[in-house]
């Protein structure tokens, strides 16, 4: 189990680094998909199969496809790759890198502190998720639902357009 975790974690890290360093946007997105898949494997190992599969269904299966969709539509060619190459200069990434190294050091320090309670691995199945969603976090669910509803209505409104051009034989009389 431990070994699988370390392998998956390594895959996650490597693929995430690849996401940042790829010049071709589609390749970068594919590495992001791999990173999400390996994250879901980690969720599985931590005893949360429901979250793992939702990660695949929603993030890898739907959202990333939409990203690729958009990038395909933009039809980014070689110029973008060159542009990306120019952007990836040390001047650009040195600042964020230093900041994240500080965060990383803090994380190490926190891990290093000996824990009193040993973490017991308990499976978080769909029932537990459902109960926690609809008991303590009910208001959060309701708010999210309202937000999503607003989003759907907004999308429907933006997507709706009146048919302006009829066929010339089917043109209806202007009602005044």
């Amino acid at each position: 189990m431990e070994l699988i975790f370390y392998i998956t974690a390594a895959i996650t890290l490597i693929s995430t680094i690849m996401v940042i360093t790829r010049h071709n946007p589609v390749h970068a997105l594919l590495y992001l998909v791999i990173s999400l898949l390996s994250l879901s494997v980690i969720f599985f190992l931590l005893g949360a199969p429901f979250a793992a599969l939702l990660e695949i269904i929603i993030y890898a299966g739907a959202i990333m496809v939409l990203f690729i969709f958009v990038i395909m539509l933009l039809n980014l060619g070689k110029e973008t790759a060159i542009q990306e190459k120019e952007w990836l200069k040390p001047k650009v990434w040195i600042g964020p890198a230093v900041l994240s190294v500080i965060l990383f050091a803090e994380l190490f320090y926190l891990i290093g502190i000996p824990h009193q309670t040993s973490p017991v691995l308990q499976t978080v199945d769909s029932k537990v998720v459902a109960i926690s969603l609809f008991r303590p976090y009910l208001i959060g669910v309701e708010l999210a639902a309202m937000l999503l509803m607003a989003g759907v209505v907004g999308a429907a409104h933006i997507g709706q357009h009146k048919k302006l051009v009829f066929h010339r034989f089917l043109k209806e009389e202007e009602k005044t």
């Binding site: 589609v26 199969p49 269904i57 890898a60 299966g61 539509l73």
Partner: protein, 320 residues
């Protein structure tokens, strides 16, 4: 311990072997049945009833030139056909063929099936994009939007079944149908799942990503040889998968009168649905792309949601 591991591997190999063989013979079956429904006789030369046409087809596919266009994105072009076969085969992991004959009885089996079918989109999108060809790209765009949207209705229609059986585990769902198949209690969900399943496997009435009268061959225009064969096998495996899921979820899986063994019941029911898929191909014309999308979002989604609401209400009343 050793023995069970060996059994496990044997099971996987067996299922894999049977499935790929079935997918191959389905090519023959489809051509033959299409001919039957069009007053033709179909392939009948090679071997008895033309059965060996599959062998000839396979040999032909293997010996064709495996052409990668110079303008294609090579790695992605090669990976894409593997994804479709891999994801569909992965979905078969959770399907209970008969008591004892299944690979992994995951307690979130249904979600696993949905996840794998949602990953199947990548083969179309990447195959179409990597071909670097406008028809392929159009096919990929259509395929992506079609599959993402129909996944929604597919998942929603299944939730009624999950409510009635109270579990995501597929063997539990089958056992919950001991008294009454879910086709009786969930007819609306069945229809929605059937339509979404056809769209998900991009089978013929909804083969918009590869509409050959508009898009050459859609997302696999540039593929040849065994890479095309993978797409082909993936499609037939998808048909088998959706048929098997329909049987598992709505037609009582392996359950049936006792004069036949459970596995035979399962295979018989699946076979009927495969034939139904071929019949659909023989009879229905392809809808336009926007018709398909508006049909999905304006009819199937509200119907699935209403079904979910009513089922939830009834389940609540029954438990009270």
């Amino acid at each position: 311990m050793m023995n069970t591991t060996l059994q496990y591997i044997l099971m996987i190999v067996m299922v894999l072997f049977v499935l790929t063989t079935i997918a191959a013979w389905l090519i023959w079956l489809e051509r033959r049945m299409l001919a039957v429904w069009q007053n033709r006789s179909g392939p009948n030369r090679a071997g008895p009833f033309g059965l060996f046409i599959v062998v000839a087809d396979t040999i032909k596919l293997f010996f064709k030139e495996d052409w990668i266009p110079p303008f294609a994105d090579k790695t992605i072009f090669v990976i894409a056909p593997a994804i479709v076969a891999a994801t569909v085969l992965m979905s078969f992991v959770v399907i209970p063929f008969a008591p004892g004959i299944l690979i992994a009885d995951l307690d979130i089996g249904l979600l696993f099936f949905l996840a794998m079918s949602s990953l199947g989109v990548y083969s179309i999108v990447l195959g179409g994009w990597a071909s670097n060809n406008k028809y392929s790209l159009l096919g990929a765009l259509r395929g992506a939007s079609q599959m993402i949207s129909y996944e929604v209705f597919m998942g929603l229609s299944l939730m009624g079944v999950v409510m009635l059986s109270g579990s995501f585990r597929l063997s539990d769902i089958v056992l919950a149908q001991k008294d009454c198949w879910f086709i009786v209690t969930q007819p609306v969900a069945f229809v929605v799942f059937l339509i979404a399943g056809i769209a998900e496997t991009h089978r013929l009435p909804f083969d918009i990503p590869e509409a050959e009268s508009e898009l050459v061959a859609g997302f696999h225009s540039e593929y040849s040889g065994m890479k095309f064969g993978m797409f082909f096998i993936g499609e037939y495996l998808g048909v088998t998968l959706i048929s098997a899921m329909l049987v598992t979820l709505f037609f009582g899986g392996w359950l049936g009168p006792a004069f036949l063994p459970p596995l035979v019941w399962f295979i018989l029911k699946t076979f009927v649905f495969i034939l139904f898929f071929i019949l659909l191909r023989a009879s229905l014309p392809r809808p336009r792309y926007d018709q398909l999308m508006s049909y999905g979002w304006k009819i199937l989604l509200p119907v699935a949601l209403l079904n979910l609401l009513i089922t939830g209400g009834i389940v609540l009343m029954m438990t009270k």
